[in-house]
């Protein structure tokens, strides 16, 4: 039966937003925690640790997000862990985000002048304190614009969760498109909603970038 594109359909698509946002938020926070470890390993003085982190980043930046999600979704049961699409997608997006954030923050850490680390060392600060109190605050400030830029990419990336079968904004638009035979409206509305979320973030990222460029 063909359904009409009424307020129910609009509400159904709108309800998808919360899952898109929740997924983005979890992946961003989880990815941030793992990404910090990656960034620290990537800039570590231990060569093997640096190599592992570099390989990790290269892998996630050199393969499609869709394949990464498939690998987690089909791979975890292989290792004896049964997962729902929700868990698989969350883990996949978290790993994906950690590699990209790790690379962005590595750039930030390396952009902090060497003298800062050397001065901290001369003052007798240990690694943890050097990083926490001296390097990271400056590095994160330097990387804030690209970090927000990546958040936009991540929000758009959550749309791929729909291919694994998780119902978020894109999937709910797909469902409405196929029940109402109004794909133009359904996908148009979904695109509009993504735009409303992403455009202000993109602008914000650009403003941060310009403000920083003007300062230096």
């Amino acid at each position: 039966m063909i359904r009409l594109f009424g307020s129910n359909e609009v509400l159904f698509i709108l309800a998808g937003i919360q899952w898109t946002l929740l997924l983005s938020l979890i992946a961003f926070i989880g990815g941030g925690v793992v990404g910090l470890i990656i960034a620290l390993s990537r800039t570590s003085t231990l060569a093997p640790l640096r190599a592992i982190a570099a390989g990790y980043i290269d892998f996630f930046q050199g393969t499609p997000l869709l394949m990464q999600l498939f690998l987690v979704f089909y791979g975890m049961p292989v290792f004896g862990v049964k997962v729902s699409p929700w868990t698989a997608v969350t883990i996949g997006l978290t790993l994906h985000a950690s590699a990209f954030l790790g690379e962005i923050w590595r750039g930030g850490i390396q952009a902090v002048p060497r003298g800062q680390t050397e001065a901290a060392r001369a003052l007798g600060l240990r690694y943890a304190s050097r990083m926490r109190d001296i390097v990271l605050p400056q590095a994160l400030r330097l990387s804030i614009a690209p970090t927000v830029g990546f958040l936009v990419q991540l929000i758009k990336g959550t749309s791929l969760a729909s291919i694994v079968g998780f119902v978020e904004l894109s999937r709910s638009a797909q469902i409405v498109a196929s029940t109402t035979y109004k794909p133009l409206l359904a996908y148009g509305l979904a695109a509009l909603l993504y735009f409303v979320i992403c455009f202000p973030l993109s602008r914000f990222s650009l403003r941060l970038e310009q403000r920083f460029a003007a300062k230096t």
Binding site: G62, L66, L71, S170, P183, Y187, F195, F199
Partner: protein, 222 residues
Amino acid sequence: MTYKFDFAVLAPYWEMFLRGCWQTISLAAIAVVLGLVIGIVAMLAKRSPIRAVRLFATSYIEVIRNTPFLVQVMFIFFGLPTLGISLSPWTAAILALSLNCGAFAAEIIRGGVEAISKGQVEAGTALGLKPLQIFRFIVLKPALRIIFPALSGQFILVLLTTSIVSSISAEELASISQSIDAETFRSFEVYAVATGLYFGLSLIFSTAFKAINRIYFSYPVR
């Protein structure tokens, strides 16, 4: 129960995987070439003196950059037929990828063009270079040099993005992997191989681009 990996069942499908790689490369190459053309036009339109043209170009660039590619490709493939424009999956995939690439390319090219200062062109004229020589040596090559790393990054990005057109069943590596998966029921192995192939492709291309950058664009600037 432990799972037994079985990559051997995939051996007879090597030709399909190879075809998928080739289709993925072709899709990316066509999309990047068309995307560059669209990008140049969009960049010029954004600098147009006519306000409506500027507004149109800006909206195009911002809408594409701030919506997911999946929704774009669905909109084109499932949405356009209701307006009477029916496209084959492959055509829809090329259209969506080119439009997507064009919006990102426009911003990259703008960066390159804005980096060439007027004074340099004037210096070329003062040295008695012909207009064509000025364009080639003073505008084109330095601009290309500046944007080349970003453009090659964009190519890799498009190469990886092509996997999403499997959702409209346009034939390329990801959709071929899905059909092999449907025949063999070896999901993990199939996608592991596909992921490895994508990784190999992006490694090959990024190495090649780095070499081109080193050989062709390494001359003293300052």
